[in-house]
Amino acid sequence: MILCKPIGQRLTVLFLSLFVSIFSVSAQDAAAGKTLFMSKCAACHNVFKDGTGPALMGLEERHKWADHNELLKWVNNPSAYMAGDAYTQGLKTKFGSLMTAFGDITLKDVDDVVAYINDEVAKKAKGPVAAPGDTPAATDSSNQNAIIFGVISLVLAIIALILMQVNSNLKKMSDDVEGILRPEPVPFYRNKVYIAMAAIVFFIVGGFLVTKGAIGLGRQTNYQPEQPIYYSHKVHAGINQINCLYCHGSAMESKSATIPSVNVCMNCHKAIQSYEKGPKLYTEDGKEIDGTAEIQKLYTYAGFDPKNAAQWDPSAAKPIQWIKIHNLPDHVYFNHSQHVNAGKVQCQSCHGEITAMDEVKQVNELSMGWCVNCHRQTKVNFNYSDSTGNQFYSIYEKFHNDIKSGKMDSVTVKDIGGLECQKCHY
């Protein structure tokens, strides 16, 4: 818990800077296009291969798509567009379903996505590009500090011991010289003072360790089990920037974030049948993983035959038995939607830098102290007078008056009862 706070802060800073950097880069068309493509298009489309929808390579050469306004009309409202257009009707017959409408896409977005597609096509023509380097992992300096302090203390303790021995030897020598008779000195291991001191130290250190261990019973920080499929969050959420909520959408509405069902995986993996361009994957103990083989595992669960994609029957899929990493005791009520939707907390705040993890591990200890700490510090979205605040809090007249009068500068979760037992235990 003591270590947790600075690490947490560091991680937050790291993430903030990550996000900022992403945004600053995305000024360029292709990069913005990539983000858009990944979040909106990639579920059904691949640049080079037909998936749920057609391959987008050479898009502008087909139909009227050279005119991006036409493309925009189609994307904004496919069913209306299709009504008077034979080409798109043909597409629907070929692929079996109509494209999802994206009403919020603008002309700029279309330009960006097309730029990205053309960019990808050009890159492929040039030959494979080396995978972009990983973000350098932040070294855990606090751990190093602890080691340094430990070594220094040990050295100092040894020096003190030597000096004490030297001191007593010198004293003995001087006593011998002066002829003062002293009782035969006892060796240090029978010296009661030393034994008492050692016992006290033993009790303090031992007690500390036992208590710490007892508190940590049942906690699973750094728990990183092997999953039935080597699923890399780094590849999906990191490199390909799939939004967390695309797969864990229930986090917005339910207490459980839920692991996506097989049909959600297959939305993309009907098209993405092999792992080719990404960085090499390794397990925690350094074994190399064949990404394509892992996708094959998914197909086994889904009952999907890549050669016969059109025949796939989603209802025949078998569920994947994932191993649950983040476990809370039965007496804790935790609701994802409360935090993600109402509280606007980022997933990473609790789950750590998921986008950099190949295999997910539990980063935080998920203890009550850890929860409560956050509840103490987190500010509630309270300003109902400006449109960003949550209107629910409009009933807290006293706090609003206090803010107006300057008595309070912000309202934390604690102030509205976030530390009370029955917020989480009932």
Partner: protein
């Protein structure tokens, strides 16, 4: 002038000294500890050193056990997630609770594919009301003793079979000829009735017989004789200013209590500015739920109902002569009621519970004389709750005996248990070649059949029900069938040569009827379709039958000795609730007994039997057993319970108990069957009979809950007055509060802040509050069962209730109101008592680990995993609403064998049944299942409040009033409970409190515990003005009330601070 007494036990009223002495004991049951004698601790069986050794060992063992292995948990998502279903988010589906003709449109809460809670349907004529049985029905779905597959009898044993086999053999058997009879309880499903018609058409000579376990045949025949056809009308209790019930328990079990409670409570609400309410008279033999709520009660022997009805009619229009009535009180009562009925022509309603057609004909004549038809009785919408004619069943049994029935198919009915001559039915059934039962459980009749083809539970079914003409409600499945069951309609369809499933048939039937699939979908979504028909009254009143009926009543032989009357409990009903642990553990409205039936006897009878009604009688659960014999019908031995306000010679026993072993551990072993004491008079079954009783010379334990909690002589818990007294002096209750303010808040007048040493809790946002209108609480217990279901409250079984270990978070305290003589019953007050969520809670201050503390929203919170079980809080709670898990009732402990206790008390089998994996599917996943050694209590359904708040936050809006509701509130069919944010001036709770300042009170206000639950004083509509002095003036306020209850004791002054 004699003062009124409010009492809960005879010990309290008759034997004050011993009563008080025993109230001091913390443990009322015998403790299982080895005695420490004078030898000292070291020589005791478990000396201190051993104790410490065990302590050390178990601590170490626990640490090891807890630390060695962290189990691997799996998270298994859907393979193919259905649209609309979000794991962790509840869905609500409208459906209909149907049980033997009872119809209650409900909404089932479904979490992750499992129905876990029943709520009433707001769109229906029942206006979201439910009963205890409807609330508990969700547990029936997960009953481990449901039949799981079709079976056929080979020799004496049942063997599993397949539907193919069954369809083939039965189909062939039906085709081969022989009379076919379909015996059901009342069927009011239009589509099923059509299927039955089609089935009967396919097999000429076959017939459909409807038989109700507790029949309304007399009423149906009487209405036919009075010119309305074989129907039962709709009763409008809300339109009645004077309600007279001749033994009809319309708030408990008669026809449609939900609907009646709604209407009745409408007429019982009081506007303080202009107080008035309907007047309810009850004539009955025993003390029923309805009688307990009456303004004035008159008792008579059950056989005298006809005479009373006749006397009423005679007093009204004089066309008939009534037999003389000896009892002066009763005679005066009849005269008074008749006068009141005359004065309220067109606003009066008389109902009778008798199954004697003659009595019902006279009641019809009375209703005609008071002009009730068209006003309080509506013939344009007759109801379909009960249709059985008793003679049809006896005729069928005669036919069966004569070997004239080839195939008997049974659904719902259980004559081997409910028939007045069950042995005769059993013998007759043996003469039927093929008997098929569609029942869900192996009940007494099913056991005797040659085939059992179990049907779905209603939560697994498609279906419909027409409660009354024009009011249709629909059922849709809320879960995939758990077992290999099949709707009996599908069987009938198949055997009639129609190969469609009932689901398809049902859909086609209603799509055709409603015109489109969209209309059908809408109907399913709403769950109800109420197309009120134009007010075409079928038939008009005819007095032709009155003379004959009156002659028959006059000629009836008088019974001189004791009489038995059979009644239904609100929980068990005709016996269908017996398999449900929640219902078995629900304390009876009047007796507060669980898990049993018993003989309710009068004080006079107790005196005659030499039973002394002192504290020992109440204190020890062993009650004397009597032998009840009916000539020619055998005898039954039952323990007695003495109930005040009973007719001296009436013995009342509940039906529905004494079930067979195959129905499971819940039903088996509880009570005795008394259906054999009913008798058939050639037309109808009578539910009363002449009996002789004798002491059986032994005792038997009854698990009652009423004296489990003690208010330590504080009496300002319950407040009751009469309308006359209230009109004269409306401010008695309000003055009490004013007096407290004057005494304890002299400088500021703010009792809340000034009368305590403790600070005041800051409540900046919401503040929850509840109000209970005691005028609208009839004690039915629907709220108690709803609380069980919502909050995973454990079932503890009879042996644990006997040890005072019952776990109900919400109890309904029953107070008898009497004069000096306890038998002079003036009324009964029901008070729902749950955690009062005191703002200055005595429990919070004494918890050594702060496991219970106060929230900013005014909730007294309980953190189970923090509780170490000192029980200081329960001791310090003035209302005794905290419940302690003495045993591992739920199996939630980490140690596997904690439930297997031998030394401190073996748990009943039902506890283990409730822990079965199947039964546990009913648990609410949002509420922790508590383990042994922790305290628990009402949480104001905090999980529902949190969910409502979260929904508002997600929608970015303030919380609306009525979004957060407690389980007890939604269950109540009389809307007695109001809940909400008291900081919101427009909320219902604020409005109710503002509108009822004269009746509103908090329990034990003088303790300054500042409860967040307020009550509205119970008002009975009598003119009696002498009422208890609630204090309010001078120093002796509290002392005066003590004098009222403790004639011998000295009045103690209550301290306004904590003890």
């Amino acid at each position: 002038m004699s003062q009124k007494k409010y009492w809960q036990s005879f010990g309290e009223v008759n034997d004050q000294e011993n009563f008080q002495k025993q109230q001091q004991d913390e443990f009322k049951e015998e403790l299982p500890f080895e005695g420490f004698d004078d030898k000292g601790l070291i020589d005791a069986k478990a000396p201190r050193r051993d104790f410490l050794k065990y302590l050390g060992f178990s601590t170490a063992a626990a640490t090891l056990a807890a630390s060695c292995k962290i189990p691997v948990k799996k998270a298994i998502p859907f393979a193919n997630r259905p649209e609309n279903i979000v794991p962790g988010v509840a869905k609500y589906y409208a459906t209909t609770y149907v049980q033997d003709g009872d119809v209650i449109p409900v909404v089932a809460k479904v979490r992750d594919g499992r129905p876990i809670k029943i709520e009433g349907n707001e769109l229906a004529f029942t206006k979201a009301g439910t009963t205890a049985r409807a609330q508990a029905s969700v547990l029936d779905l997960y009953d481990t003793h449901r039949l799981r597959f079709p079976q056929r009898k080979v020799g004496d044993k049942f063997e599993e079979t397949t539907y193919e086999f069954v369809d083939k053999t039965i189909g062939e058997g039906l085709a081969a000829g022989g009379n076919i009879v379909l015996l059901t309880s009342t069927v009011n499903s239009p589509s099923t009735l059509q299927i039955i018609t089609e089935f009967l058409a396919k097999y000429p000579g076959s017939k459909h017989v409807q038989a109700d376990p507790v029949s309304y045949s007399g009423m149906l025949l009487a209405n036919e004789a009075s010119g309305f056809g074989r129907k039962i009308p709709t009763y409008h209790f809300d339109a009645a200013k004077v309600i007279v019930s001749l033994g009809a328990d319309f708030l408990g079990t008669w026809l449609s209590p939900v609907e009646f409670a709604k209407g009745y409570s409408a007429g019982r609400r009081i506007d303080e500015k202009n107080p008035s309410m309907s007047k309810h008279y009850q004539f009955e033999g025993y003390l029923s739920t309805t009688g307990a709520n009456a303004d004035e009660r008159f008792t008579h022997k059950p056989s005298e109902t006809g005479a009373v009805a006749l006397a009423l009619l005679a007093a009204l229009d004089g066309a008939v002569t009534a037999p003389a009535i000896d009892n002066a009180t009763l005679k005066a009562g009849i005269a008074k009621v008749a006068a009141d009925l005359k004065a309220h022509a067109g606003e009066a309603l008389v109902v009778a519970g008798s199954n004697d057609a003659n009595v019902q004909i006279i009641v019809n004549a009375i209703n005609n004389a008071t002009g009730a038809y068209g006003k309080t009785i509506d013939w344009s919408t007759p109801v379909n709750y009960r249709k059985g004619i008793d003679k049809d069943l006896t005729d069928l049994v005669t036919q069966m005996e004569a070997g004239q029935v080839g195939t008997l198919m049974i659904y719902g009915a259980n004559p081997a248990y409910t028939y007045h001559d069950a042995a005769k039915f059993t013998a007759a059934l043996k003469k039927v070649k093929t008997s098929i039962s569609f029942n869900e459980r192996m009940d007494e009749t099913t056991k005797l059949c040659t085939y059992t083809i179990p049907t779905h539970h209603y939560l697994e079914s498609w279906g419909d029900a027409e409660a009354k003409t024009g009011y249709t409600s629909f059922m849709q499945p809320t879960i995939y069938p758990l077992f290999k069951t099949r709707p009996y309609q599908t069987s009938l369809l198949k055997w009639a040569g129609n190969n469609t499933d009932y689901a398809v048939y049902f859909k086609n039937y209603w799509t055709a009827k409603l015109g489109s699939l969209d209309a059908f979908d809408k109907a399913l979504q709403d769950g109800v379709m109420e197309a009120v028909p134009p007010a075409a009254v079928a038939g008009s009143y005819s007095s032709a039958a009155v003379a004959a009926a009156s002659a028959a009543i006059t000629a009836a032989k008088k019974i001189s000795g004791d009489e038995i009357v059979l009644y239904q409990k609100v929980s068990i009903g005709t016996g269908t609730g017996a398999t449900n642990p929640w219902l078995q553990e629900l304390p009876d409205t009047i007796s507060k007994a669980t898990w049993d039936n018993y003989a309710m006897i009068s004080l006079a009878k107790a005196n005659e039997l030499g039973i002394k009604l002192d504290n020992d009688y109440e204190y020890y659960p062993q009650k004397p057993v009597i032998k009840i014999s009916v000539a020619g019908k055998g005898d039954v031995e039952l323990p007695i319970l003495v109930i005040p306000g009973m007719n001296a010679n009436t013995i009342a026993v509940a039906v529905g108990y004494g079930r067979n072993e195959e129905l499971g551990k819940t039903a088996f072993g509880a009570g005795q069957n008394v259906y054999q004491f009913t008798s058939f008079d050639g037309n109808n079954v009578n539910y009363n009979n002449a009996v002789t009783i004798a002491s059986a010379g032994r005792k038997q334990k009854i698990a009652q809950t009423q004296i489990h909690n003690s208010y330590e002589d504080r009496v300002e818990v319950v407040r009751e007055t009469t309308l006359g007294a209230f009109k004269k002096n409306p401010n008695v209750v309000a003055d009490f509060r004013k007096d407290l303010e004057e005494k304890y808040a002299r400088s500021s007048g703010d009792f809340r802040k000034e009368a305590t040493l403790y600070g005041v809790h800051d409540q900046p946002g919401l503040k929850w509050g509840m109000n209970v209108d005691m005028n609208a609480c009839y004690g039915c217990g629907a709220c108690v069962v709803a609380c069980h279901a919502e909050n995973n409250v454990p079932v503890v079984g009879k042996s644990e209730v006997l040890r005072y270990h019952d776990m109900h978070w919400l109890r309904i305290d029953r107070y008898f109101v009497s004069g000096e003589n306890p038998d002079d019953l003036k009324g009964v007050v029901f008070q729902p008592m749950m955690c009062q969520h005191c703002d200055n809670a005595p429990c919070e201050n004494v918890c050594p680990v702060a496991a219970t503390n106060h929230s900013m929203e005014g909730i007294n919170q309980m953190a189970y995993n923090r509780c170490i079980g000192t029980r200081y809080c329960a001791n310090n709670c003035p209302f005794k609403v905290r419940r302690f898990n003495w045993s591992d009732y739920t199996g939630a402990d980490s140690f596997a064998n904690n439930q297997d206790q031998q030394l401190v008390g073996k748990l009943d089998p039902v506890v283990f049944q409730m822990n079965d994996d199947l039964t546990r599917m009913v648990l609410n996943p949002d509420v922790t299942v508590r383990s042994r050694g922790v305290m628990e209590k009402c949480s104001f359904c905090v999980q529902k409040l949190q969910a409502a708040k979260l929904d508002a936050k997600k929608d970015n809006r303030p919380l609306k009033d009525g979004e957060a509701k407690t389980a007890c509130q939604t269950a109540c069919s009389a809307d007695a409970i109001v809940f909400g944010n008291v900081h919101d001036k427009d909320s219902q709770i604020s409005k109710v409190r503002a509108a009822n300042t004269q009746r509103s009170f908090y329990v034990l206000e003088q303790l300054h515990v500042l409860p967040n639950v307020s009550y509205l004083t119970k008002v009975r509509n009598t003119d009696e003005e002498e009422t208890k002095n609630w204090g309010g003036h001078g120093e002796h306020a509290a002392a005066a009330t003590h004098d009222a209850v403790i004639p011998a004791g000295e009045g103690k002054k209550e301290e306004p601070a904590h003890h």
